[in-house]
Amino acid sequence: MLEVTPGWYMTLAAALFVLGLTGVLVRRNALVMFMSVELMLNAVNLTFVAAGRAAGVLDGQVAVFFVLVVAAAEVVVGLAIIVAIFRRRETASVDELAALRG
Amino acid sequence: MLTLLVLTPLLGAVVISLVPARRRELQLPLGIALSAAPLGVAGAVFVSFEKGEGSFQMVEKMVWWEPWGISWHLGVDGISLGLVALTTLLFPLSLAASDAITHRRKAFVMAMLVLETGLIGTFLALDLVLFFVFFEVILVPMYLIIGIWGGERRVYAAVKFFIYTAVGSALLLAAIIALAVMHASQSVEGALSFDYLALLDLEISSTAQMWLFGAFALAFAIKVPLFPFHTWLPDAHVEAPTAGSVLLAGVLLKLGTYGLLRFNLTLFPEATVSLVPVLAVLAVVGIIYGAVVAIVQPDLKKLVAYSSVSHLGFVVLGIFALTSAGLQGAVIQNVNHGLTTGALFLLVGMLYDRRHTKKIADFGGLASRVPMMAGFFLFMAFASIGLPGLNGFVGEFLVLVGSFPSLPAYAVVAAFGVVLAAIYMLWAYQRVFTGPLTGMANRKLVDLSPKETAILSPLAALVLLLGLYPGILLDRTAPSVEAILDRIEQTTDYQVPSPGRLEDVFASGSGDGEG
């Protein structure tokens, strides 16, 4: 019978991570980009949990807790910036923000 | 005493900085007076220098950056002595010739004094990092002197000067680091050391010597400048103010030849011996090339600049001749070139101050209007051409005769440079000073003022003195030069050629000898 080892979860996490990264790269809506970042962080969390299980320690789950908080804090600040930008520019597309370059 | 010598100009710069801006009239005279102080100290050094001694004298050593074994280590020997004296001499003179600098004069005087400290320090440093520090620091005041008080394209010239030199010294730094690390791996305590005297004891493999030699040589070749690294020089000279040109030609270029002589020959003797053909070819090409290019230059300063390329080629040839005469010639030619070319730049500057042009075509027949100036110019031109009895000849002759036993073919080609020197110098003199007086502006020229005469006279006197009695320098140089050659002979299988049948000379020479 197939046993689901932590490796399976971690593989899934890896896929999610790459998916999230892809999302950041292909979407131009800043909000969706943030969601993709969240996806990446979720992949990280899954890895932590699975790795913690494999190692038999709780540290993995503790780490998830902190990553979660960081994600939340990032989202708050990010959304604040997006709102601020939207007030001025009426857009959430990052492609239109390219005044700084060269 | 040497520390005093290095720091006196710096102290002078501090003093100048304290002069209030409204006492403008004080700045230049005070600067001249302050730069005369190191001249006095240098004079004392010269007098107390032991003649028969080949090693370093008046050595001072203090720990500086201890964790890395870097020390404030100064010393003087026959190779640096003349250059230090030359440096201290040229500074008061070129400051005195800087009346035309009216704009930001205080800063100018300060830059000059800082430059003097750097130059003296470079010649005296016996710690490689200390040397490098001075070597690099010089760039800043020189850069400012060209870039702020220079001619129309001053910025381009200044930046080119700075970058070119900096690129050259970049690899020098890497090589210095390599030496220090090598010292760490070879010494018992495993400590880094940048001490020149300690590094002399290193055992460096042939391959490593090649690389390190290359790095050192590149830095110095750019500074000399050796063909084909010379193109910064004409630009820098043309744009620099008079004092800048004088010091650039008079002293800065000597850093390159001094470095080759001081470091390449002693630290990497094996590589030196095997790379002699490369350097000698570059030197000889430089001699001929510089002269050929100088002939048609339309700008007097450019002409003198290219003549420097040619003259410095002699110095390099003398160094890599690896004979006593060649090395002595190189050392004294360093000083000679500083005197004559310095004086020529002073003269061109005086002319420029009067006419605001350096174009040869703008002049003509000036000798009938300014005979004194013409006389000095001709005198210095002949010194530069290598007229026996004047100093230029002593250097060139020693180099040529000294390099013949080891590099016959090169010496012969180089000797042709002497012919070309006559062509470009005399043709320039002819076009500027002889013939009928042309142009309204030229008719109103006034001859040298007593002050200007006073500036040029000591140079002329030295030109004559060194031309007729070079022993004053050679006596002090010879032991140091012998020490270098002894070192090369001991560490490699090179033999300094001794006089003998020509067949033997050609057989032992570079092989491709010709008649």
Partner: protein, 484 residues
């Protein structure tokens, strides 16, 4: 450790951070309740910083050479961390001194701004002292998020917002990459503490190191992003250009300190046994950074972008020291200490010239600056010459230090690349100096600088020159800042 036991807390070891954090909170509360003037807030923040610095010096003195673990192994209070703290604090004090006009312009947001500076500094210090990778992540985020906000805090320009958003988005990705690397290292070793990881790796031969290697790679990349090393540097010019002038220097400096401290600790004390695997990668990043930074800076026309790219190059130089392994860490610290001071000084001048809240500083604005304000011009020149590594400035000593280390540890090729890059870099600093001294100004209006800026710049200039000539004290100091 049984549940319910009193946590192991080394309060004294974190005294400076506590002061900063509490100070930040106090500032925020004061702002809400008392609404004091900006000047008062600024003075309070400065005072907090100075107290923190005093405590930091005390901590530096009492720190044991080997360091000690604190907070259940979360932190290690060793000389390297203590030194990082000193650097961060000095830089912070310089930055808020020179940045006073920015806070004045922020008006009712000044308290937030100052609090964020305090919090960010505390965050980066924690990051430098972290022994646990998740702690490191928290410190990193604490600092980074504060910086994201600071980048956009003026809010009176599109460019400022753009900078903040770019910084945040890319920073979030980099953070995710970093923490994913941590997760993979955790998967590969079963622990989050660097000492434990080091012990594990020393004890067991890792037969299939792929996960670990990927983890190390991801952590390295994440931190390289923070320190703006090529090719992970692309955000830096945009952010430096768009963020308010008064704070950019600070942002750049503390992020570099924190990032390099973390990178050094991770690579040297965690993965020291894997040096064969990462040294070359780090060296390659270093080489690329130096080259790309120098080349791109040369063609920049905005002085901030120029400094950003030059910062990329400097990241390369510092990585050169890092790639040399543990013995190189004193040289890394020396470099960081002197470079960040120069960086803050340079941006302080930019702030004085262009306005503290401004975005973007065209190089042409600096034409003839010497005539408009000799002091600012000289201060900027000294900083730039220091960055160029001209002898008799601290920059030279710093470069010499890292080069020596790299050469001693088998990275001769990197030293050659580095010296060439530094020669190239000289040109770009010269460009600025040329502009300031050798071009005539477009306007003759004098440029003023307020008293704190004057002192901050004076200090930075003096440090750059005095320590450049006599670096002995600082060299001695960093000798102990080594990762074991």
């Amino acid at each position: 450790m049984s549940p319910g036991a009193f946590p192991d807390v080394a309060w004294a070891g974190l005294a400076p951070e506590l002061v900063m954090v509490l100070g930040a909170v106090v500032l925020l509360l004061l702002d809400v309740q008392v609404k004091p003037g900006v000047k008062v807030l600024w003075r309070s923040a400065s005072a907090i910083m100075v107290i923190a610095l005093a405590l930091g010096i005390w901590q530096w003195i009492v720190t044991e050479p080997g360091g000690e673990l604190a907070f259940g192994g979360m932190l290690i209070l060793d000389p390297a961390a203590a030194f990082a703290r000193l650097v961060v604090l000095v830089v912070s004090i310089l930055a808020i001194s020179a940045g006073r006009s920015l806070f004045v312009q922020l008006g009712n947001r000044a308290a937030e701004g100052l609090a964020l500076v305090l919090l960010a500094s505390a965050g980066f210090v924690l990051m430098a002292a972290s022994q646990n990778l998740v702690m490191m992540f928290l410190g990193l985020e604490m600092g980074s998020i504060s910086l994201y906000i600071l980048a956009g805090i003026t809010g009176d320009g599109v460019r400022s917002d753009e900078a903040a958003l770019k910084y945040l988005l890319l920073g979030a990705v980099a953070s995710a990459v970093f923490i994913y690397g941590v997760a993979l290292v955790f998967a590969g070793t079963g622990s989050l503490g660097l000492v434990a990881i080091g012990g594990f790796l020393a004890q067991y031969l890792v037969l299939s190191p792929a996960v670990l290697l990927i983890g190390i790679g991801l952590i390295t990349v994440g931190l390289c992003f923070k320190v703006a090393a090529a090719p992970f540097h692309v955000w830096a010019p945009d952010v430096y250009q768009g963020a308010p002038a008064g704070i950019v220097g600070y942002m750049a400096a503390v992020a570099k300190v924190g990032g390099f401290a973390a990178l050094a600790r991770v690579l040297l004390s965690g993965f020291g046994t894997f040096r064969a695997d990462w040294a070359l990668v780090v060296a390659a990043i270093a080489a690329l950074s130096m080259m790309v930074g120098a080349v791109m800076a040369i063609i920049s026309t905005d002085i901030r972008r120029l400094l950003a790219y030059s910062g990329v190059a400097h990241a390369g130089f510092i990585l050169t020291g890092l790639a040399s392994g543990a013995p190189g860490s004193p040289s890394v610290w020396f470099y960081l200490a002197v470079y960040t001071v120069q960086l803050v000084a340079a941006f302080s001048v930019i702030s004085a010239v262009g306005g503290a809240a401004s975005s973007g500083s065209a190089l042409s604005d600096y034409r003839g600056l010497y005539r408009r304000s000799p002091f600012l011009a000289i201060a900027l020149s000294v900083s730039l010459l220091g960055m160029a590594g001209l002898p008799l400035t601290t920059g030279f000593v710093a470069k010499l230090g890292v080069f020596l280390q790299a050469w001693q540890h088998g990275l001769q090729w990197l030293v050659v690349v580095a010296v060439l890059a530094s020669a190239m870099a000289i040109y770009l600093y010269l460009r600025v100096i040329v502009t300031m001294y050798m071009h005539s100004p477009t306007t003759d209006d004098p440029v003023g600088s307020d008293r704190p800026t004057f002192w901050a710049l004076g200090f930075a200039t003096a440090v750059t020159v005095v320590l450049g000539v006599f670096p002995q004290p600082l060299l001695k100091l960093v000798e102990s800042a080594i990762y074991l």
